[in-house]
Symmetry: C2
Subunit: 509 residues, 2 copies
């Protein structure tokens, strides 16, 4: 029972180091054991430092490398003073990540990785429940594949890492280290899809991907990152659309219910749509500095990739992604892809963290000792009771004294408090989000809102050129046309023409 809360048995806290060392959760030695418990329960927030010094091989460039200027002590820059410095301090102090030796790369340390494992555990079950199978595609993609879908190559070619030497020899064709897998997936789909009976084909992979980003920031944007990428093929456009919507719904529920992040789900503008997609759905999260973070996306790819891989085919026996429908005619399949990455860990930090450091929603905390701290003094040891402090409520107000260590009482108390913390974090984030979204009806209103660091929500039916002008003049982009739309007639904030939808504009990561 207690184990289901990811809480080591409290009995160990009251036993001698040598007997505890024989338990499941012990390390190798009493020393390890003490350090482990110290880490989980007894150390004050923020978590211990021991921060890495500068790497000799790291280049001094990009946000990720400014991690190295963080000093190895417990001091965290106040959030209000310098949000970026605060973010890097939190990561350093909680030992979530460290920079790698290559510019823009990141080492995900055990505590940071455990948060990612919590995310994986939840989503992996949801993906399987909705009929998807995990598999694995090679990460090396022939360069020619990337060139097959016109907007895809335009979007990704500036960010590619290329392998040109293998086994000591110059390769005949350069290999792309996957930035995403649509092309290689379609290459394989051509071989697996022959008939409508092979559809829907629903797969997912957990993998690393590489994008040669110039401005990097731990978790948020790194040269290499971890993610899941789902890829599906369907017989009809309606099925593909339903799939893309289903997956953004799963991400939305995950964000609200597990991460306590009140994302706004919606559709991307054409300008912001994924390179190669027909439509992109997104969940947008407001960070503590009011900037938007694109926290997950789901693409309805239409037939863009299936046509690209088909139209390039020059063989007599065609093997492109198309199938025989029930009437015996051949047509291209309809596809989706969708992804969430280690960036989400950055989103959690920047949504819930405060001046004291990292704050995790209980449902994603690797050890649920962390949102709640259990304090044990010499008097507690004799009375069989503990003090329990809430991470999210500072000072005496967040403390409960004299909680019995009798397992059923303690477990019920802890469960109850964890639920309370989870709800409270979400409510607080919703209140923060809503107080920072401004409804606007003119471009002037929009400019004021953005200059004040707010999100601007207003009717929009203007051109791509107008959208780009807003970006150039204010730094804000359309984050999405939210699924939840106000009723009634609307007029475009830019042109005054009728508008069907409101869009949300914001500065973003």
């Amino acid at each position: 029972m207690v184990a289901s809360l990811r809480l080591p048995s409290l009995a160990h806290l009251f036993s001698s180091p040598s007997s505890a060392a024989n338990s499941n959760i012990s390390g190798r030695s009493p020393v390890t054991l003490r350090r482990r418990f110290h880490g989980l329960f007894l150390r004050p927030w923020p978590l211990a430092a021991g921060f890495a010094a500068q790497s000799p091989a790291a280049e001094t460039q990009g946000g990720i490398d400014s991690l190295k200027n963080r000093v190895p002590d417990q001091v965290i820059t106040p959030r209000s003073q310098d949000f970026n410095a605060w973010y890097l301090d939190v990561i350093a102090n909680a030992e979530l990540a460290d920079y790698g030796p290559v510019r823009g790369t990141m080492v995900i340390r055990p505590y940071g990785y455990a948060i990612w494992e919590s995310i994986q555990e939840y989503l992996n079950v949801k993906f399987k429940e909705t009929g998807h199978s995990n598999m694995y595609f090679p990460q090396f993609i022939p360069y020619s594949f990337i060139e097959k879908e016109a907007s895809h190559v335009e979007g990704f070619s500036p960010e590619l890492a290329l392998v040109t030497i293998g086994g000591g020899k110059e390769l005949e064709e350069k290999l792309v280290v996957r930035p995403t897998s649509e092309t290689i997936v379609n290459h394989m789909f051509t071989q697996w899809i022959h008939s409508y009976r092979d559809l829907p084909l629903l797969i997912n992979q957990w993998a690393n991907v590489t994008r040669w980003e110039m401005r990097t920031k731990p978790f948020v944007r790194t040269l290499e990152f971890l993610w899941q990428e789902g890829h599906t093929a369907h017989a009809t456009p309606v099925e593909a659309e339903n799939e893309a919507r289903q997956m953004i719904d799963i991400y939305t529920r995950f964000a609200y219910e597990q991460a306590a992040i009140p994302v706004i789900a919606g559709r991307k503008s054409k300008v912001e749509t994924f390179a190669g997609a027909y439509k992109t759905y997104t969940i947008e999260a407001m960070m503590g500095d009011q900037k938007a973070l694109q926290a997950g996306t789901s693409h309805n790819l239409g037939q863009n990739f299936s046509r690209a891989f088909g139209t390039q085919c020059s063989f007599t026996k065609c093997k492109f992604v198309q199938f025989t429908d029930e009437n015996g005619q051949r047509q291209h399949v309809w596809q989706t892809s969708w992804a969430i990455s280690t960036r989400f860990v950055g989103g959690i930090i920047m949504t819930h963290g405060d001046d004291a450091g990292l704050m995790l929603p209980p449902k994603l905390a690797p050890t649920q000792g962390v949102p709640l701290r259990i304090e044990i003094g010499p008097r507690d040891l004799s009375s069989g009771s503990v003090v329990i402090s809430r991470r999210d409520v500072p000072g005496k107000q967040g403390k409960a004294f004299g909680i019995s260590v009798e397992p059923s009482i303690l477990e019920a108390y802890v469960k109850d408090k964890l639920n309370e913390i989870q709800s409270s974090l979400l409510e607080k984030a919703i209140a923060f989000r809503d107080s920072n979204i401004v409804d606007v009806n003119s471009y002037d209103d929009l400019k004021v809102a953005i200059s004040e660091g707010k999100w601007a929500r207003g009717p929009w039916s203007a051109s791509d050129e107008d959208e780009i002008k807003v970006k150039e003049e204010t730094g804000a982009t359309i984050r999405c046309f939210p699924f939840e739309q106000p009723e009634g007639d609307k007029k475009c904030l830019m042109t005054g023409n009728p508008a069907k939808e409101v869009a949300i504009f914001a500065k973003s990561y």
Copy 2:
């Protein structure tokens, strides 16, 4: 209860497609549902074909590409006729994997990947129980790192894939796509280890690695493969040795108890030791063609890497992997690394498979419908009973008729049978292994044994040169000096000199 056996509820088999479609295990449509059940229960072995045709981008070279010559039908080459063709047929027919577009790469398909997930689930728990934390290191390693440990660079440099272009620009320093992570791990360890209080440091990562192999074979040897790699640092050589032995023991138990593969665990000869290690421990498995497969290794690295990364240090404030011991002196740490990869899936296929195709040990079967087949006819539907067939016992002998579908009866029956199959597969594999190991006391004996396709076990204390001569003359290498040694005085089979240990010689993958 039934779910714990990874068996979909049998009730669904007796319900209409529309009601079953609402269940957890359903796909999107009755069509998917029928295909799904068909796959799990009702299709005859071997699993359905639908094998991929030739890839236009694949080069015709290496074993992995000969997969493409397998025909898309149910025919499996008899194992006795051509073991390699049989192996490729089994993989194609069971849809475990397909070749990728780049020579030597492999796409792991859902059923093959699910076997890997079963392996991961078991080992991941064992690693955490023994105090290891998962984390993630970047896959790009500066080329200069590889050169720091002399035997490491000698071993790996012919197999490297190199990234030379990033973001459209030629890189100043080539990046190695990790073939293994000892170098980058040590680079980071220098920053995290300052004192004996930071030890032991016990970490693991699940990752992809790249080795530019010329002769490839699905699962067994591919350009890119998936594995876990553990890396640890300790204060004393005894601790490092205990760790290396503990991990090979975990692999051994996994092989016996989960995979029903009776591996022989032992120490590698100096010639066969991992590039950069002080000692390598291994588990060696006998495949169906009597060739040996190195199925997992655990290395005691001594101080090789900690010294390599230390001695290169040219900074005033040294950051190499060393720590202050309790006496205040500084010394280098003692390290281990250990790994199991997707190669193990190949080992399972080649240990248990037969002329009918894939045979999986129940404890690793993604769905425990597969070692047992449940057959339902129209008469069964009315009588509420099923026929259960064992995959490992052909014909009527393996069938049990009239098994009630009453959940408690069916579950008990299935559990019992699965245990019986698991034990029976292990016993059969032990008998096969033992009947193919020959004790030899002279080089002539050894040559005869090897020429007959057997493993030769005999006393060995000869030189590295003699060991290399055996390889050149017979094709066999020392697979290991087994931990289990016969007692009594022994004389080296090659030189007649006293020998402390017997070694096992065999041809290998």
